[in-house]
């Protein structure tokens, strides 16, 4: 822990501290009582079924099937997160710079995907993007392309659908963070002779690091858990880990394997976050400016 945050943490008087500690209580009670506790017995299944021991965890090293699902999921989640963050940042930044009225309209558009349930959304993408779909028909009509573009029922389709679904999360998280930034700082930087790019890179961007971090974590983790959209838009050839787990729990009754994968996911995401906090120096980000 850095010296700055130690002094800072020690600073609040006893009474104040107690109050803030109390503020953690409701969430902790909810989480421990209604999540961790019920989950505990389930996690135990991973070391008791089909027989006691770490047999299920060995599958991580030995089963090509498990490894492939993990690899597919990781690859798609990383790609989705990258694309989403870049596109989302552009929109969030434009929103921050826009007038109040324009911001409302942009926000309205950003919320669009939320109101369309995942089944309808997938159907809409298929209708728009399939080889005889709206887009391909239009493009061929204008003579821009000869052969239809294969945009769905493959991994391109998976990415389109996932980026679309994840963008609102990224944009809103980034925007919420950018709202807290005083734009006069940019003006001041320009006044001190910084070019527009330098002002953005040196002043604005660093201040949005917590937003980027939050959006990355949110989008990446939600992406890991996606499967309806990938299954439909991927033409049934994309098997994500969340579907893999659901299959073991709901159909093949290999609960040991399913719960092992869930536990592994939980631990490895925690690990990734811990690493990120190391590399990105979260202390400084979350602590006093």
């Amino acid at each position: 822990m850095s010296a700055a945050s130690t002094t800072f943490a020690a600073q609040p008087r006893r009474g104040f501290r107690g109050f803030y500690v109390l503020m953690l209580a409701p969430a902790l009670v909810l989480l421990l009582g209604l999540y961790v506790l019920p989950l505990f017995g389930v996690v135990l299944i991973s070391v008791t079924e089909p027989r006691p021991g770490l047999g299920n965890y060995e599958l991580l090293l030995t089963s090509a099937s498990v490894q492939r699902a993990l690899w597919t999921t990781g690859r798609i989640a990383v790609l989705t997160t990258l694309i989403t963050l870049i596109l989302g940042y552009i929109v969030a930044y434009a929103m921050r710079m826009a007038s109040e009225g324009a911001q409302r309209w942009m926000l309205f558009c950003v919320l669009f995907p939320f109101w369309i349930s995942v089944l309808v959304r997938s159907f809409a993408w298929i209708t728009l993007l399939r080889s005889e779909g709206v887009l391909n028909t239009a493009l061929r009509g204008t003579g821009l392309i000869e052969e239809p573009l294969m945009l769905v029922r493959n991994e391109t389709g998976v990415l389109i659908g996932m980026v679309h679904a994840m963008l609102p999360y990224a944009i809103l998280t980034l925007y919420a963070n950018m709202r807290g930034i005083d734009l006069r700082l940019m003006t001041a930087a320009r006044g001190l002779g910084a070019g527009p790019v330098a002002a953005f890179l040196r002043v604005f961007l660093p201040m949005t690091r917590p937003g980027i971090l939050g959006a990355t974590v949110l989008v990446f983790i939600i992406s890991l858990g996606f499967y309806v959209t990938p299954a439909i838009l991927g033409g049934g050839r994309t098997l994500m880990i969340a579907e893999y787990v659901a299959l073991q729990i709901n159909e093949t009754l290999r609960w040991g394997l399913g719960t092992m994968l869930a536990t592994t996911l939980g631990i490895s995401v925690m690990g990734i976050m811990w690493l990120m906090s190391r590399v990105l120096d979260v202390k400084r980000l979350f602590g006093p400016a």
Partner: protein, 374 residues
């Protein structure tokens, strides 16, 4: 049968259930405990049901949508009319194996009758989470011998059938699975479901395996078949998705459930059609979770669904084939082409391998998904 004397024994049982975390104990263990606490086994099993009486509401669980509407109209309502005072509710949220096991293990079983299929009944029965079918009340002779086993009794028949677009190949249409695997002769996109039943058999028939020697399934051969066509194939999860793909001409040939191929033919005014030839025919089955509370009424309800007329009505509304051959024989002209169980249709198809699936479905499904996803 009075409740009082049994109460202590039940407490003892509850105590045991607690210790075993509600896990259902096997038959021998159960009998041993019953003997230990000095009560007849039948008493412990029946007491809750007897205490509730036959007027307790039965809960029938199926997969929702039209199945709820059809079964309510043609199974539940006639049963209630014939047995005034009884009640049956339909829960359409789906009796997945995971939920059945969870419910039985938790010790609080609220479902009574479940609509699954015969090979699942065999698989879950062996897991000891289903009740034996009470053939003293349910009439085994009203279904084909292959459509009943210890834990499941046929409910209706359905088939995975070759479905195709009639306009795609200038008047020619595919008639066998070999045609579906013939990428040059029948170019176009294929459709298969992301489940193994039907998909594996189709691949083997396409590769020239005779119907009689499909089982036991040669997994490598079947999967090689799918690897050869998977890049031209859409593997759908939901049946509605597969049907929509045909309707929108996104796929031109492949496998679909006969219950949906028929409406598909109507929706497209005959542009899409299907054949029972080389279809794979299955039987949906009633099964009952271990510890179900409905008692005798469960079996009486199941027996009532064996009535030919009710099955014929269900075929008319939902396309579910009558499992009772007497019903198939009595079909009016217009319904005959719809019924997978009718002799002339049944004979052209391959009966799905119940025993093989009960044993191998878990591994085979995983291998199939791995093969099409890689």
């Amino acid at each position: 049968m009075t409740q009082e004397p049994a109460q202590d024994h039940l407490d003892a049982l509850d105590h045991f259930r607690e210790r075993t975390e509600g896990r259902v104990i096997d038959r021998r263990g159960f009998l041993a405990i019953c003997a230990a606490i000095g009560m007849p086994a039948g008493l412990a099993r029946l007491t809750p049901a007897a205490a509730q009486g036959t007027n307790r509401e039965l809960v029938l669980v199926n997969w929702g949508g039209d199945a709820v509407r059809g079964m309510r109209a043609h199974f539940v309502e006639p049963y209630i009319r014939a047995n005034p005072g009884r009640r049956v509710a339909i829960d359409g949220t789906g009796p997945s194996s995971g939920r059945i096991r969870l419910m039985v293990q938790s010790g609080r079983v609220t479902w009574d009758v479940m609509d699954r299929n015969l090979h699942t009944a065999l698989e879950l029965g062996r897991e000891n989470i289903l009740e034996d079918i009470d053939y003293a009340i349910v009439d085994r002779s009203k279904v084909r011998p292959e459509h009943a086993n210890q834990w499941g009794i046929g409910n209706y028949t359905y088939a995975h059938v070759l479905t195709y677009n009639t306009r795609r190949w200038g008047g020619r249409v595919p008639t066998t699975w070999k045609d579906v695997w013939d990428l040059r002769g029948f170019p176009g996109r294929r459709a298969f479901r992301r489940t193994i039943d039907g998909a594996l058999e189709a691949a083997l028939m396409a590769d020239g395996v005779a119907k009689e020697s499909i089982y036991p399934i040669d997994m490598k051969r079947a999967l090689d078949g799918h690897k050869a066509i998977k890049n031209q194939t859409i593997y759908y999860n939901a049946i509605a998705e597969g049907q929509a793909a045909f309707r929108d001409n996104e796929v031109q040939l492949g496998l679909l459930l006969n219950t949906r191929s028929w409406p598909l033919k109507n929706d497209t005014n005959g542009v899409c059609d299907y054949t029972f030839n080389e279809g794979i025919v299955w039987v949906a089955a009633w099964m009952v979770p271990k510890g179900a509370q409905g008692g005798r009424a469960i079996w009486e309800f199941i027996a009532s669904t064996q009535e030919p007329q009710r099955q014929i009505e269900l075929l008319r509304s939902n396309g579910y084939g009558p499992v009772n051959p007497a019903a198939s024989a009595a079909l009016p002209e217009d319904l005959r082409p719809l019924d997978p169980g009718r002799e002339e249709n049944y004979a052209r198809m391959l009966p799905g391998g119940v025993a093989w699936y009960a044993e191998h479905a878990t591994n085979a499904l995983q291998q199939y998904l791995d093969a099409i996803s890689s």
